[in-house]
């Protein structure tokens, strides 16, 4: 009876098996790495905007309050985006001929909205509310980072479920007095742990069990 397998068949089999293992493993490793990467989380990316708006200049150097432009942050789920008229309160007087601001003037002249690219976004099945977080003493920087130092706006934190849950499981270290919510330079006092506990009861913050119930964010 002739040989069915050649002499090298064993080697080939081992090579193919090893190759398959390597390919599979690298597929999963790549997928895993991708899922954990900033690319997937869209962190630190500055999308192309119609106007290269600088939060560093407006919020940082000029010290304009967040609520001047994001005016519904305390009263609505959405923080609100400034209407063209809000930009023009200043820019009808300042930099009136700057090329950079041409889209703003055009928007006003043509009564057409400026289409900004959204930077901070949670998935459709997550229902985030700004108003309640502000009311409970969660500062802008907690999620948006040092936006007062961003020449071009980018997402500072990965808006993953883990990011939300870290705080919902133990809110105390992230709390600050309501008066300091918009303060980028607020430094936690030495007794922040004590303050956090005090604020938990002062602001009637719910227990971690309630805060981590699925229905808090998903419905």
């Amino acid at each position: 009876m002739p040989q069915i397998f050649s002499r090298t068949a064993d080697t080939w089999l081992r090579a193919v098996a090893l190759g398959a293992l390597v390919v599979t493993a690298s597929f999963f490793l790549t997928a895993f790495a991708l899922a954990r990467s900033q690319y997937w989380d869209v962190v630190a990316r500055t999308p192309l905007q119609p106007v290269p708006f600088s939060h560093k200049h407006h919020a940082g150097q000029l010290g304009i309050d967040c609520r001047y432009c994001h005016s519904t942050v305390e009263t609505s789920a959405n923080a609100g985006f400034p209407a063209t008229h809000v930009c023009m309160t200043c820019h009808s007087q300042l930099w009136t001929n700057a090329d950079m601001l041409a889209p703003v003037r055009q928007s006003l002249a043509e009564d057409r909205s400026i289409d900004w690219a959204r930077v901070a976004r949670v998935p459709d099945y997550v229902y985030f509310r700004h108003d309640i977080h502000i009311a409970k003493g969660i500062a802008c920087v907690e999620c948006h980072g040092r936006i007062d130092r961003m020449p071009l706006t980018y997402r500072a934190k990965a808006f993953e479920m883990k990011f939300c849950l870290d705080c919902h499981r133990d809110p105390a270290p992230h709390l600050r007095p309501r008066s300091a919510v918009y303060d980028f330079d607020w430094k936690p006092p030495a007794n922040h742990a004590v303050l956090g506990r005090e604020l938990m009861s002062l602001y009637h913050i719910k227990s971690p069990t309630e805060l981590t119930s699925c229905g808090t964010c998903h419905r």
Binding site: W116, Y125, I132, S213
Partner: protein
């Protein structure tokens, strides 16, 4: 497995198959997945391969990177506008020309929900299915979008140029040959405009096309009931709890006088009816009677209470019922009310007035009211128009907001007549049957896009204000009418404002009227006495081989104007639970005689014309009466409503539009009917599911309800502990809750085939049960949302924890976790879970996406969903209270179904707050839990229906 204690209680049944306990029915019920039971019958191997393929595909749908999207802010933010917050406006939608006052909720400028206006003194916030579903008509992708000339798109400028020529000709001829045909209307502005038009063009005539009031210029019924003052109501074929413009008003009065009210304040109801209705289902005593003997029955009651009677021909049962009713009427002088249906002949209407006058009820429980709407003058009925067209007296016909080519009775041959008019102009929301054979078609705006006004059936007026800018190139009906005499017609807003110049003179009064949605105007004057009394001799008795035919508007499609509304098409009809079709209702006795069952096609002939429709064996139908339902068989309704069902108008006659005699025979074929009556059956042998109490046994509690020991720890009662109580004594089975739930929670429409397979998505179903003999059964309604069990079996079943419990007692559904094993559904004893077998939303027309509620997830394929107790509303109220640093108040969270219910049958709130309304209702002795013997401890419980003592 522990033993389930035996359950005792009245035996109820849902369908005749269940009543007869057929083998196939038993097998269906026992199947693990009744929804795929039929597939199982086909081929198990093929099914498995199909399921495998869909599983493989389902895995891929998760692979999408997070998408960045655009933000489009305002150029100039309107004052008071808040992104992410809903705004509310008071306005009205129309039903049969009557105002249905609503509060329209808009989100980012898009109307997303309509609810009854709580400020309206008659509606008091009540809804009906039509009111809830009107919002879908606004976004109907098949709406007419631009004028058409001879079927080709044209511009308003072209139409205006033509109109100028015609106007000059009419001005010279005083309008000779010009006819205007309008749909039913109560608009004071339109009535004023018609008056002015008549003065300017005395030769022109305005005709009425209202298929639900008749074609010969019939006067509307003179009696306007005031049920809140009545202790006893007798309905002679008057379905006042059923679908119609007054349903919400009457249901509110009904709800106030049912449930936990003292016995002496209860409203008692006797109903005689020619076909089963909601009023009959809720009546304490019900009599099925053929239409030919209704007159005799009324005369018999009239004779007993002292109104001159006529010779009566009644059976023993009917005579006994008449005596019982008369006795009760006489015992309740001044507090009783006898009404007859709007489709009864005028002699009966007069008799009802006289009986009420004799009993001293007029001014107490009813009023004789002047008609609110447009009443055609002599020579201006629809029949007169048809005669005039035939006599070539009509040179131009403007059809404004009506569809006579579809809705004319079959004996007129109106399509041919209409086509013979030299100039035909149609204005409407759709390019419908009439538009198709018109020279011009003009698009009208939806009521939510337009300025107008209308009266609700109680007589009060509402200014209709637009809540969204017109989506298409439409023009208001008022502007079109003004265009008959003016080349520069004012805007609709100006025209409406002019009509109210006297009552709402200054801007503050006008704004106030817009804000609350009611004009505090004096109610239209009452009349003292309608036309003379002439008692009829009764309709001619049918020959033995002939069947009496009754025509009724379809319970959800009405006269056909809602045919392209997917929510209403898929809404199970309250009594038959069929969807997407109209049926020929006949009695079990007649079905036995013809040897047919539900779904078999019947040919109904009358007056030389015939229609064919699927039979529906309807318990409680009078033996030799068949009921045909109008509204189907449309040929140009749109992508939803075209070519479904049969057209009952074909069999109608102009002289007697509501009754006919004829023959019925099976054709030998069978149609597929998508009925939900056997879907989601509770596996409880039908006992103890719906319960009744009576004065002797005031408690609904059964032996088997005793608390069970459980393997699982008792769920701690958190604060708040959300719960719901549904009062079956108040519930009238109208389905308003079901449509409200669909609108609020983005529930998709799945189509007839899917409904037939048991895959309807409605989160809230209204189960209809019968008890007793099929010939004359008791009818019960039971709305079934998720029970939010404290010991929820579904949660034990889910392999991925996609359904979990919240500390507040909500049974949550986490869509993004769900992998679609459907284990929860098979574990759910109440069958309230719904599975997305397909992606129902992605390919929907774009305009429909604008209706969706932004606070509720739009579910994808392969995901389980169910009632959430409107968690988005709980969340909104909780956050608001939290920011204001207080607890949520009782009544602050209102679920969509609760808000819609016109009878206030549903209450919702915090069970831990003993002072709350829901805790109060739950402590009633009538309170019981569905399938309590399973130990699931549901948060939704029911209040048993009150069965009456015999003497009233």
């Amino acid at each position: 497995m522990r033993d389930v204690p035996p359950v005792s209680g009245p035996k109820v049944w849902r369908s005749l198959a269940e009543y007869q306990d057929s083998e196939a029915f038993g097998a269906m019920l026992k199947a693990e997945f009744p929804s795929i039971f039929e597939l199982w019958l086909v081929d198990r191997r093929q099914l498995l391969s199909v399921m495998g393929a869909s599983l493989a595909l389902a895995g891929l749908s998760g692979c999408k990177p997070v998408r960045s999207d655009d933000v489009v802010p305002f150029v100039n933010r309107p004052e008071g506008f808040l992104e992410g917050r809903a705004d509310h406006y008071a306005t009205a939608v129309l039903l049969d020309g009557f105002a249905q006052p609503v509060i329209a909720t808009t989100s980012a400028g898009r109307p997303i929900k309509l609810d009854g206006n709580p400020e309206h003194p008659a509606f008091r916030g009540g809804s009906t299915p039509f009111m809830q579903a009107a919002i879908l008509d606004l976004y109907d992708p098949d709406r007419s979008q631009a004028p058409l000339a001879g079927g080709h798109s044209a511009s308003w400028a072209e139409f205006d140029a033509q109109m100028t020529r015609w106007r000059n000709a009419w001005a010279a001829s005083k309008g000779a040959g010009l006819r205007i045909l309008i749909g039913p209307t109560t608009s004071p502005t339109l009535l004023r405009q018609i008056g002015e038009l008549r003065a300017a063009l005395p030769q022109a005539r305005v005709h009425l096309c209202d298929p639900l009031s008749g074609y010969a210029g019939e006067a509307p019924p003179p009696l306007r009931p005031k049920l809140e003052a009545a202790r006893l109501a007798v309905s002679l074929d008057d379905d006042w709890l059923g679908p119609g413009p007054s349903q919400a008003i009457h249901a509110r009065a009904w709800g106030d006088r049912h449930g936990d009210v003292p016995a002496e304040e209860r409203l008692h109801l006797f109903a005689a009816e020619t076909t089963p209705t909601l009023t009959g289902a809720k009546a304490d005593s019900r009599l099925a009677i053929p239409p030919s003997r209704l007159g005799s029955l009324a005369a018999a009651i009239g004779a007993e209470v002292g109104v001159a009677g006529a010779r009566v021909t009644l059976t023993e049962t009917e005579l006994a019922w008449a005596r019982q009713v008369s006795k009760a009427l006489l015992m309740n002088r001044g507090r009783s009310l006898l009404t007859v249906g709007a489709h009864a002949p005028p002699e009966l209407q007069t008799l009802a007035v006289e009986v009420n006058r004799k009993l001293g009820n007029i001014g107490q429980t009813c009023a004789i009211a002047a008609p609110l709407g447009f009443v055609p003058q002599a020579g201006e009925s629809f029949l007169d128009l048809a005669r005039d067209i035939a006599a070539r007296h009509v040179s131009a016909l403007f059809v404004l907001g009506a569809n006579p080519v579809y809705a004319a009775p079959g004996d007129l041959g109106f399509a041919r007549l209409y086509a013979s008019v030299p100039l035909r102009v149609h204005a409407g929301l759709h390019v419908d049957e009439t538009a198709a054979i018109s020279n011009w078609h003009l698009p009208l705006p939806h009521a939510l896009e337009d300025w107008s006004d209308a009266r609700s059936p109680d007589g009060l007026a509402t200014i209709i204000q637009p809540v969204v800018r017109p989506m298409y190139d439409s023009r208001s009906l008022h502007e079109i009418v003004a265009g008959f005499t003016s080349d520069q017609p004012p805007t609709a807003q100006t025209l409406v404002r002019q009509s109210w110049a006297r009552q709402l003179a200054d801007d503050s009064a006008w704004t106030a009227a817009l804000k609350i949605g009611v004009v505090q105007s004096p109610a239209p004057q009452s009349l003292s006495r309608p036309g003379g009394l002439s008692l009829q001799k009764g309709l001619p008795l049918p020959r033995d081989d002939e069947i009496e035919i009754v025509f009724r508007p379809d319970p959800t499609i009405r006269d056909g104007s809602f045919a392209n509304n997917g929510w209403l098409q898929e809404l199970p009809k309250p009594l038959f639970k069929t969807t997407w079709d109209n049926v020929v209702a006949l009695s079990p006795a007649l079905a036995r005689e013809l040897d047919i069952s539900s779904g078999d096609m019947l040919r109904v002939e009358s007056g030389g014309r015939a229609v064919e429709g699927p039979a529906w064996v309807l318990p409680g139908q009078p033996p030799r009466v068949v009921t045909l339902f109008l509204g189907y068989g449309r040929t140009r309704a749109g992508r939803i409503g075209t070519d479904i069902g049969y057209d009952a108008y074909q069999l109608r006659s102009a002289a007697a539009p509501w009754t006919a005699t004829g023959t019925v025979r099976p054709t030998g074929t069978t149609a597929m009917l998508a009925t939900t009556q056997e879907h989601h059956m509770l596996d409880a042998e039908g006992a103890g599911v719906v319960r009744t109490v009576n004065p002797d046994h005031p408690s609904a509690r059964l032996e088997s309800d005793a608390d069970q020991d459980s393997f699982y720890p008792r769920w701690p009662e958190g604060k708040p502990a959300w719960g719901m109580v549904i009062d079956l004594d108040r519930c009238i089975g109208c389905n308003a809750c079901a449509v409200a739930c669909q609108a609020e929670n983005n529930v998709p429409v799945v189509g007839k085939d899917q409904v037939h397979k048991g895959r309807e998505m409605a989160w809230l179903r209204v189960d209809r049960y019968y008890a007793g003999e099929p010939e004359d059964p008791e009818t019960y309604f039971q709305p079934v949302p998720c029970m939010h069990c404290e010991q929820a079996p579904c949660e034990m079943g889910c392999p991925v924890h996609a359904t979990v419990h919240s500390p507040e007692g909500l049974n949550l559904m986490v869509y993004n976790r769900c992998i679609g094993t459907r284990t929860c559904s098979s574990y759910c004893p109440y069958k309230v879970r719904r599975f997305n077998w397909f992606d129902y939303t992605t390919d929907e027309p774009e305009s429909l996406a604008a209706q969706r509620n932004p606070d509720v997830t739009v579910r994808g394929r392969g995901v389980m969903e169910k009632c959430s107790y409107c968690i988005q509303r709980i969340e909104a109220a909780t956050v608001k209270a939290d920011i204001e640093e207080r607890a949520v108040r009782d009544g602050e969270v209102v679920t969509a179904c609760q808000q819609a219910c016109p009878a206030k049958a549903i209450s919702f709130g915090n069970l831990a707050d003993k002072a709350s309304e829901v805790a109060g209702r739950r402590s009633s002795p009538r309170n019981y839990a569905l399938l309590a013997e399973l130990g699931t401890r549901p948060r939704t419980t029911y209040l048993a229906r009150v069965a009456l003592e015999d003497d009233v």
